[in-house]
C-alpha cells in the first residue's frame, strides 16, 4: 500500500453498526467476496440484522439502552 492510499477506516457508532470506509474487501470465511453494492458499508454488531454481515437498521428494535434492564 503506497503512502497516498487511504487506510481502511472502521468507525463504531453508539447503539449502532460499524461503518467501514476505504479499500477493504468483504469476504466469506472461504474467501469468496461479498459484494455490498456500495463503497461505505455498515456492519451489524447487534446480531439482529436479517442481512448479516450488513446492518439493516434492526438494532432500533431492541429496547432502548435507557429503558432496558
Amino acid at each position: 500500500m503506497s503512502e497516498t492510499t487511504p487506510p481502511v477506516e472502521i468507525t463504531v457508532y453508539e447503539n449502532g453498526p460499524l461503518i467501514v470506509r476505504g479499500p477493504y474487501t468483504l469476504q466469506n470465511s472461504d474467501r469468496t467476496e461479498i459484494d455490498p453494492g456500495r463503497k461505505t458499508i455498515a456492519l451489524c454488531r447487534c446480531g439482529l440484522s436479517a442481512l448479516k454481515p450488513l446492518c439493516d437498521g434492526n438494532h432500533a428494535l431492541r429496547p432502548s439502552p435507557r429503558t432496558a434492564n
Binding site: I41, L54, C55, G57, A60
Partner: protein, 337 residues
C-alpha cells in the same frame, strides 16, 4: 409537466398570470394571500396553499414546460411565495413541543429517539400486513411527487454547510444519486417501481390526484432547501428521512412481495434497506451532530426541521390509513374551482 389545475382563489390567479410573460400580478392576488394569512385553516392541508407553493418551488426545479422560465426570479411571484410561506411556517411550527434546544452533543440521541420504532406511524404496519396492491399503488402515487426528486432538495444544503457535516452530507447524497452509476439514482429506481406497478413515471403525471398533505411533504423540503437560514432544518429533515428508514423500507418491500410485485418493483425499497442503515448513522452523528457542534445557535433549527417533517408525515399517514380503513381511495378527487 404542464401547470396543474388551480385548487382555490390564489392558485387560480397565480396560474393564470404565469401563463403570460413575467410581470406583476393583479393587486387582488396579494389581498387574497393577506386574507389567507388571517385565516386559521391549517396551511398544511390547504389545497390552494400547497398547490400554489408546489408551483412556486417548481420554478426552481424546472418542473413546468408551459411557463416562461424567467418567472423563477420574478419579484411578483417571490412576493406571493413569501406570503404563502409565512402561513406554512406558522402552521408547521405551531404543534412542535420544542421549548428549548437540547445540548448540541445530544442531537444524535434526540433524532434517534424522535424516530424510534415506538413512535413511528401506523402506515408501515398497515402497508406491511394489510394493504392491497391497489392501496400500495396509491401510496406510490402520493409519494411520487417527492421520490421522483429524491435527494434534490437536500443537495441545496451542500454549499451552505462545511467541515464534517458537509463530508457526511456529500457521502449520503452520492448514494442518493446511485454512486455515479447510470440508472441507479434513487429517483430512477422509483421510476422503475412505478413502471412495474403499471403507473406512469413521468413527473407530475398524477398531480391532480395528490392531496395537499402529500404535497406538503415535498414543499417543506423545498422551503428548507431554498432558504439558507433554514439549513439546519434541511439537515434535520434529511436525518429523520434516513433514521429508521431501513425498517420501513423492508416492510414496504415485503408488502410488495406479498401482493405479487416483481423484484424490479422492490428494488427501490431493497436498496434503501442497506443504504439507509449507513445513512442514518452519518446523518445523525456526522452530519447533524457535527453541524450542531459547530453552530450550537442553530441546534433548534435542526430540531424544528426534524419534528415538523415527522408531523407532516404523520398527518399524511393518518389521512391515507383512515381512508383505507373506510375502504375508500386515499387519492384526491379533483373538483372544479
Amino acid at each position: 409537466m404542464k401547470l396543474p389545475a388551480p385548487r382555490g382563489p390564489i392558485s387560480t390567479e397565480l396560474f393564470e398570470g404565469m401563463r403570460h410573460a413575467p410581470g406583476p400580478f393583479p393587486p387582488g392576488v396579494g389581498k387574497l394571500v393577506a386574507a389567507r394569512a388571517r385565516s386559521d385553516e391549517d396551511a398544511r392541508t390547504c389545497e390552494d396553499v400547497q398547490i400554489s407553493l408546489f408551483v412556486c418551488y417548481g420554478m426552481h426545479y424546472g418542473t413546468f414546460d408551459d411557463v416562461d422560465e424567467r418567472w423563477e426570479w420574478q419579484p411578483s411571484l417571490l412576493e406571493i411565495r413569501a406570503g404563502l410561506e409565512e402561513v406554512f411556517e406558522r402552521d408547521f411550527t405551531k404543534d412542535l413541543q420544542i421549548t428549548a434546544p437540547v445540548p448540541a452533543a445530544d442531537i444524535p440521541t434526540y433524532l434517534m429517539e424522535l424516530t424510534s420504532p415506538a413512535h413511528t406511524s401506523t402506515l408501515p404496519r398497515f402497508i406491511h400486513h394489510t394493504a392491497t396492491l391497489e392501496q400500495f399503488r396509491e401510496l406510490v402515487i402520493h409519494r411520487s411527487i417527492d421520490n421522483l426528486h429524491e435527494g434534490d432538495a437536500h443537495t441545496w444544503a451542500i454549499p451552505r454547510v462545511s467541515g464534517r457535516a458537509k463530508s457526511a452530507l456529500v457521502e449520503i447524497q452520492a448514494d442518493e444519486y446511485g454512486g455515479g452509476m447510470p440508472g441507479r439514482m434513487h429517483a430512477e429506481l422509483y421510476a422503475y417501481l412505478m413502471e412495474e406497478l403499471d403507473l406512469e413515471p413521468g413527473y407530475g403525471a398524477y398531480i391532480e390526484q395528490i392531496p395537499a398533505i402529500a404535497l406538503a411533504i415535498h414543499n417543506l423540503k423545498s422551503f428548507f432547501g431554498l432558504h439558507r437560514r433554514w439549513r439546519g432544518a434541511l439537515l434535520g429533515n434529511l436525518a429523520v428521512t434516513e433514521i429508521g428508514s431501513s425498517i420501513t423500507n423492508r416492510k414496504y418491500s415485503e408488502a410488495l412481495a406479498r401482493v405479487g410485485a416483481s423484484d424490479r418493483a422492490r428494488w427501490f425499497y431493497d436498496e434503501h434497506i442497506t443504504a439507509d442503515a449507513v445513512h442514518e448513522q452519518l446523518a445523525a452523528h456526522d452530519m447533524c451532530g457535527a453541524f450542531a457542534h459547530d453552530h450550537p445557535e442553530e441546534t433548534v433549527r435542526v430540531m424544528i426541521g426534524a419534528a415538523a417533517t415527522l408531523d407532516i408525515r404523520g398527518m399524511f399517514a393518518n389521512t391515507a390509513t383512515h381512508a383505507w380503513a373506510d375502504n375508500v381511495s386515499s387519492l384526491r378527487v379533483p373538483t372544479p374551482v
